[in-house]
Each structure stands twice: as C-alpha cells, then as structure tokens.
C-alpha cells in the first residue's frame, strides 16, 4: 500500500512535468534536433583541421583505435547529453519550483525526497533517452552507421549506460542540494557542462588528456559510461577492462546516492532553520 502510494506520487510528478513539456511544442521539436547539432560541430571542426574526412579519420584512429570518428562522437555526445540532463535535472527542477513559488507547496505535502527525485528524473530520463536515442538513430542513418545500432551490442551498451544512471541520480540529489543552497544554478551548470565535455571524453578518447586529467576523468561515471558503451559498440579499448570498469561504476552507484541523500537532508534542515527553503 505504502509503495503503491509512493509510486502514485512519483507518477504524478512525472505526468505533471510531461504535460507542461508538451504544452511547449517548439521545445519538443528542438529537443530531437539538438543532439544532431551537438555532434556535427566537432565533426566539421575535425574535417576543417585535417583537411578532409579521410585525413581526420586516419588521425583519429591513432588515438582511439577507430576510424569511425563521427559515430564515436555521436555516441559520446548522446551519452553526455543524457548524463548532464540527469545530473542537473533535479536541481533545475527544484530551481524552477523555487522560481514559480510552488516548491513550498510541494514540500508541504508528505512526499519524500526519493519520490521527488524519482518523479523529476523519471521525466528527464524518459525525455532525454527518447530524444537522444531518436537523435542518435537519425544521425546514424544519415551518416551510414545504423548497423552499429541494430545489434545485440547496442543493448549491452544501453545496459552500461543505464547502470550509470544510479550514481548519476545520486549526483543529481547532491546538485539539487547545492541549488537549494546557492540559489543560482546557472554559472555552476554552465561550468560543469563544459567541464564534462572536456574531461569525460565526449569527442575524443581520454588518453589524449594529460595524465592527471585522465585520473580526474575516471571520477565521473559519465566517462566510464561513454568509453564502455563505445568499447562494446565499436570493439575498441575499455578504460581499464570490462570487469574493473563495471566495478568502478558499481562503487559509484553505492557512494553517490548515499552522499547525495546525506547532503540533501543536511541542506534541507539548514534551510528550514534559515527560513530560505522556498526563496531564490
């Protein structure tokens, strides 16, 4: 009974967000096109710098072990887009609620943080997975890589990505706490989005980074998700090896949700004491 009630609350948040989303049709259309543009940018940069698609492919092969750099980047940007959205969505949702004045109303109801998070993020996962994967399929069809996606490897890659959702959800709660505290999410969001592109190997393998940056890169679940999904799909190198990579992801899957929940509870209590929980 209790679980059913919790699921009803989660679904209510998901459904309300989905309804609001569908009431902005322009937003809906653009979210399918966006992943294609994110990928085309570095592709044309590579072609421009190397002189031709072939030269770019050859240069890329030396670092990554594959000449299919367009597909490589497509996979990277798709997973990056999903990860960033999951990390930030809960915080952004809380911020939107603060701005709209509805956060206090939600916090007046007997709904727990876990239900709020799951409801908010279920919407994000659904929308970003749908738009990103449809975008990936459209782009792969245009560039002739659809074969990579119609395979059992694609399912395995998807499972790795989904496993990475657990630590990302924990990070999401942590950033939600941060947003409640600092009240201004945009500067941090812009920094982290750009930093993740740089550090997580979205458009290049992390082996091109300086050694210290490679170690920092592995601290982010998205780095492992991206590298391992590519490794499965394109038969190139994993970060360490499949077992170690999965073990690292699993350890993050334990650490981040606990850390996020502790930080959120602390921040919530602190703000309830300060009286600024609904302020922005």
């Amino acid at each position: 009974m209790v679980l059913r009630q919790k699921l009803i609350a989660v679904y209510a948040i998901f459904r309300a967000r989905l309804k609001v989303y569908t009431r902005y049709p322009g937003w809906l259309v653009l979210s399918f096109i966006f992943p294609i543009f994110t990928t085309l940018l570095p592709v044309f940069l590579a072609v421009g710098v190397s002189g031709s698609l072939e030269a770019a492919s050859n240069a890329f092969w030396r670092y990554s072990g594959t000449r299919e750099f367009i597909f490589y980047m497509l996979v990277g940007s798709t997973i990056w887009s999903i990860s960033v959205n999951i990390i930030w969505d809960f915080g952004m949702w809380l911020y939107e609620e603060m701005e709209a004045g509805t956060l206090e109303q939600v916090l007046l109801t007997p709904v727990g943080v876990s239900e709020l998070l799951l409801g908010a993020v279920l919407y994000t996962i659904t929308i970003t997975m749908l738009t990103s994967i449809i975008g990936l399929f459209i782009a792969s069809t245009i560039f002739g890589y659809i074969g990579y996606l119609i395979s059992k490897e694609f399912i395995i890659a998807l499972l790795i990505v989904v496993l990475g959702f657990i630590p990302l959800l924990g990070m999401s709660v942590f950033f939600g706490a941060l947003v409640l505290k600092i009240k201004e999410p945009w500067s941090f969001f812009n920094f982290l989005t750009a930093f993740l592109v740089f550090i997580a190997g979205v458009f290049y393998p992390i082996t091109v980074l300086p050694p210290i940056a490679r170690y920092i890169a592995v601290l982010f679940p998205a780095t492992i998700q991206i590298a391992d999904a590519r490794a499965v799909l394109m038969h190139i190198d994993y970060i360490f090896d499949p077992a170690i990579d999965i073990l690292i992801l699993l350890s993050y899957a334990i650490f981040w949700p606990i850390f996020g929940a502790v930080m959120f509870k602390r921040t919530e209590s602190e703000l309830k004491l300060k009286g600024s929980i609904g302020a922005h």
Partner: protein, 333 residues
C-alpha cells in the same frame, strides 16, 4: 475540548545579509518570533491577527513544518512538528499566501490531481474529492482551463481548493481573502464557516479586523513577534469595557502633532494613525480610545481645525478588535 495545536515558547530569528559593497555583506538579525505560545482547540476557527511583518507567516510556516524554530516546541494534532513532520503534513491542508502556489501551465483540475497524488489520496477517493471540492467552491466554469488564464480571484479559489484536497481535519489559511474583491471575500468567509460546521479546525492569519471578528471563535493578536492578547473577540473587547472609540478620516500635514495633542486630552487612552484608502482617495485615519466620546469629540474637532486639517468625517464607535489592537500595541493595523 481537545487541543489540536499547541505551541510553546517558539523563538525564531532570521539572519539577513544586506549588500555593503561589491563583495561585503552586512548581517542583520530579524527577531520574527519572540517566545510565542498558543493553543487551538478542536473544531474552532482560530485567528492570528497582526500587521504585516508581525510574525504571522513565520508561525504558520513553523506549524506546517516548512520552518524549524530556533527554540520552543510545537505540536499539531499531537505530533511534534520538528520530529514528526511527515505525520503532521499528512493531516493538514495548507493555503499559503499568494496565487503562485499553483502550476500555471496545468489546468485547475490537473493541479488538484497533482497535489492530491502528492498527498497520497487513493485515486478512486481523489476523483470524488476533486468533484466535491469543485462543487463546494463553484470552480466548474474555469477548472478545466490553464491556470495562466485565471483571474487573481480564481487563482485564490483554486489555492483554497488545493488546501481542501486531502480532506484534512485541520486547515491553515494564510490571509485567505487578501487578494479578493469584497464579493469573493464574503463567499470565502462563508465557505470557511461551512468547513467549521463540517467539523474542521481552522487556523487562519489575517490583518483584516472585520474578518477576524466575523469569523473567529478565538483570536490571538501578534505584534513584533509576540502574542499581546488572546481570547474570544468579545472577551478581548471587554478589556475596553466602558470605553469608546473615535475615528476621524482627514487630510493634514501635521498628523504627528495632531495625534500628540489628542493624546494629551484627559480621558483619551490611546491614539494612533494610519493611511487608508477612503471613498475620497488616500486619507489619514486617526483612531482614539477614550472614556466619553460626547466630551472628547468637540475637543478633537477643535484640535483638527486649529491645525488646518481637512476633515472627511468624524464619528464615535463601539470598540472593535482594531481598538483592542490599538489598546495593546499603541498602533493601528
């Protein structure tokens, strides 16, 4: 009669930071509540009366678990608001001030469905409850439109409906009629009385004396974070037994001098002024509590004329809660 709300010595301070340069901030401590104690009985309409900034919303936020007090204890329906916030939340309906409490891109009905689900009302019961609330508050004409198309009054009605969605035995209403026109205010007050007749306990804040007098079984007067008086409206007014009030609406530039001179008349106990919107536009309202208006009135008129004031009206009145407030705080609301 069972105590539904019990607050004991609640203290709340806020630290605000004021800009004092590019990076420097000056800290300022605001004492919002200075040891508030009160209790509300089952089935009554309890009004917390006070001017803006008196601490009404802070207290309502503590009682509804949105804020933690710095010290003191509070129990709602027997549950500790600090230690058992979820038990409290399940059993209360809350209408906080403002129309921003709603999702503007959803319809009224979708808002009610959303909040009903967050209150974990079982779906079958929720459907019936939504229909009941729509009917009870007469929302039929607009409930299926997006909230962004609503008038201010319609949004307040929907916020009120939201507070009723979980059929809680205890309702907190923060300034429920503040944004409403007189007709809708009367309607809301009638609905509040009906809810009391259904057996609900209602805790409402207001700065409208007439509303408190008309609705509340008991009121607490709060000023500068302290409860200065508590009791039934008649009981509170009995503190002024044998006294009357004189009200004057006027235009003057010497209000402080006039008030000082009226206060100096023998038999005048308290005098205060405020700016009001009268039928003739903005005016200054002076209210004096005195023993005998028959003797005092000519002397007040004399003072006003000597100071060159333009008098709109002057009249003696029976003491109201406004005078009780003036009696205890020396101010008008």
């Amino acid at each position: 009669m069972a105590e539904i709300i019990k607050a004991e010595n609640i203290v709340k301070k806020y630290e605000t930071k004021l800009p004092a340069g590019l990076f420097r901030r000056k800290k300022k401590i605001v004492h919002a509540l200075k040891g508030v104690s009160l209790s509300v009985n089952e089935g009554e309409i309890f009004g917390l009366l006070g001017p803006n900034g008196a601490g009404k919303t802070t207290l309502i936020k503590i009682l509804t678990t949105l804020l933690l007090p710095d010290s003191g204890k509070a129990y709602v329906l027997g549950y500790d608001v600090i230690k058992q916030p979820n038990e409290v939340k399940k059993r209360i309906g809350v209408m906080l001030m403002g129309e921003r409490a709603l999702y503007w891109k959803l319809t009224g009905r979708e808002n009610l469905e959303f909040f009903g689900a967050l209150y974990k009302v079982p779906p079958a019961i929720l459907r019936d409850r939504i229909e009941y609330v729509i009917d009870f508050l007469g929302l039929q004409d607009f409930v299926d439109r997006l909230v962004e198309t609503y008038s201010s009054g319609q949004r307040v009605l929907l916020a009120f409906a939201k507070a009723l969605i979980n059929d809680a035995p205890l309702l907190f209403l923060d300034e429920p009629t503040v944004a409403l026109d007189p007709r809708r205010s009367v309607e809301i007050r009638r609905k509040i009385r009906e809810l009391r007749e259904e057996g609900k306990t209602i805790f409402l804040t207001t700065h409208i004396m007439q509303e408190a007098e008309e609705l509340c079984d008991r009121v607490a007067i709060i000023d500068e974070g302290k409860i200065v008086a508590m009791g039934t409206p008649d009981g509170l007014k009995s503190a002024l037994r044998g006294r009357s009030a004189v009200e004057v609406d006027l235009l003057t530039e010497n209000v402080e001098a006039i008030v000082g001179q009226i206060n100096a008349i023998g038999g005048v106990h308290r005098t205060a002024w405020s700016i009001v919107q009268s039928e003739r536009g903005r005016a200054i309202r002076i209210r004096a509590i005195c023993d005998s208006p028959r003797e005092i009135l000519p002397r007040i008129v004399e003072i006003l004329l000597n100071n060159g004031a333009k008098i709109y009206y002057i009249k003696p009145e029976e003491p109201t809660l406004e005078d009780v407030f003036l009696h205890y705080t020396g101010k008008l609301l």
